[in-house]
Symmetry: C2
Subunit: 229 residues, 2 copies
Amino acid sequence: MPAIKDVARRAGVSVATVSRVLNDHPSVRADTRERVLAAVADLGYRPNAVARSLRTDQTRTLGLVISDVLNPFFTELARSVEDAARELDYSVVIGNADERPDLQDHHVRTLMDRRIDGLLVSPTDGGSPMMLAAARAGTPMVFVDRWIEDEGLDRVPVIRTDGRGAIRALVAHLCALGHRRVAIIAGPAATTTGRERVDAFRSALREFGLELHEDHIGQGTSRPPAAAG
Amino acid sequence: MPAIKDVARRAGVSVATVSRVLNDHPSVRADTRERVLAAVADLGYRPNAVARSLRTDQTRTLGLVISDVLNPFFTELARSVEDAARELDYSVVIGNADERPDLQDHHVRTLMDRRIDGLLVSPTDGGSPMMLAAARAGTPMVFVDRWIEDEGLDRVPVIRTDGRGAIRALVAHLCALGHRRVAIIAGPAATTTGRERVDAFRSALREFGLELHEDHIGQGTSRPPAAAG
DNA sequence: TTGTATGCGTTATCAC
DNA sequence: GTGATAACGCATACAA
């Protein structure tokens, strides 16, 4: 794999000049630029992102730690995040915590070792030591879908859906339709989203004067049955 | 974020010594090791993987380019790959090609720029220029689930299921049950797996003397309906 | 056993 | 406009 010095040699210029055309710095004569570009082309040269990151102190990489890859919601989320990131010339590295705090920390640690520029996390219930420490230490971080309310975490932005509003709207709709016995199957209770929904459900029933049966509150997983590739 | 020199200073040793205990090199006195470890601990030092990669020329990272993240098969695959890799202290970076050759190449390029140690690819139909070039150039690569038969690619290992055998077994089973009109819904025709299955289906029908209706060969997607997070 | 010095591939600062 | 060269954080060959 050719390095910048190979390109320089072939183009008959210094590595500095090659670097300049690569980062399209203004001060480089048109014809030298051409020569460099030609050398790049026929050497099939590609800048070493590792070296570049070491030097510039940025990796153009985002970490995304999700709680469950097998949940289609998160797989769609991952896809959207990657789409948006790619648009800005960022890569995203996904870590699957599988609802396990220790695994979540493993990924946070690995990603930080790799010096990612920022971290998106849909935290497992209660968070995990390393991830909380990173957040408090000011690591660029955003919570997605789920969140954690704890000291020192108020500066971590949260991107999420309005579960409470959604549940209320659903109950309102069913109520307007004349239904009086409504039930809910929410996600795992060990998630902020799951709890929020059940809680909102109780509130909504109360608000609309519907009777609440405790056994009308169910809990499910968010995973689909398996498929074939 | 502390660097190795900070640890060295704090432990009163040289960076070389710190590096040695970090990579548990044998020749380092027990008590100095302790001192270094202590310094590491209370500085919360973590080796910079970027710098380490540049120096050692290995990233302990695998690239996994799949054709469709929204297909649960690939999401399970990704999960398994990551599990196995983690066991060996490797990370895996996933790229979603979304069945688009250009996107596939984008990911191959990005991953190679990042100097990943190896590439797992479930190629889109017909492959893509950069990915084929990489394979021919000897980039450590293995095909998963799907594959490509082309010149210079015979040294790329393929990990896949025995779709042909599976279809034959299915038809045999149905036939033994006395069924005479069997149909198939295979995956996208633009995949090796999809074509293999339809092909095997035809063969099996012939073998078992069943009549083949062309309109009994359907084609579907492998995506589940959406779910909530 | 430990320290000094070099180099990995870049970018950026300084000369010219 | 272009070229030496230092520095990024680390691992290692060589000296001591």
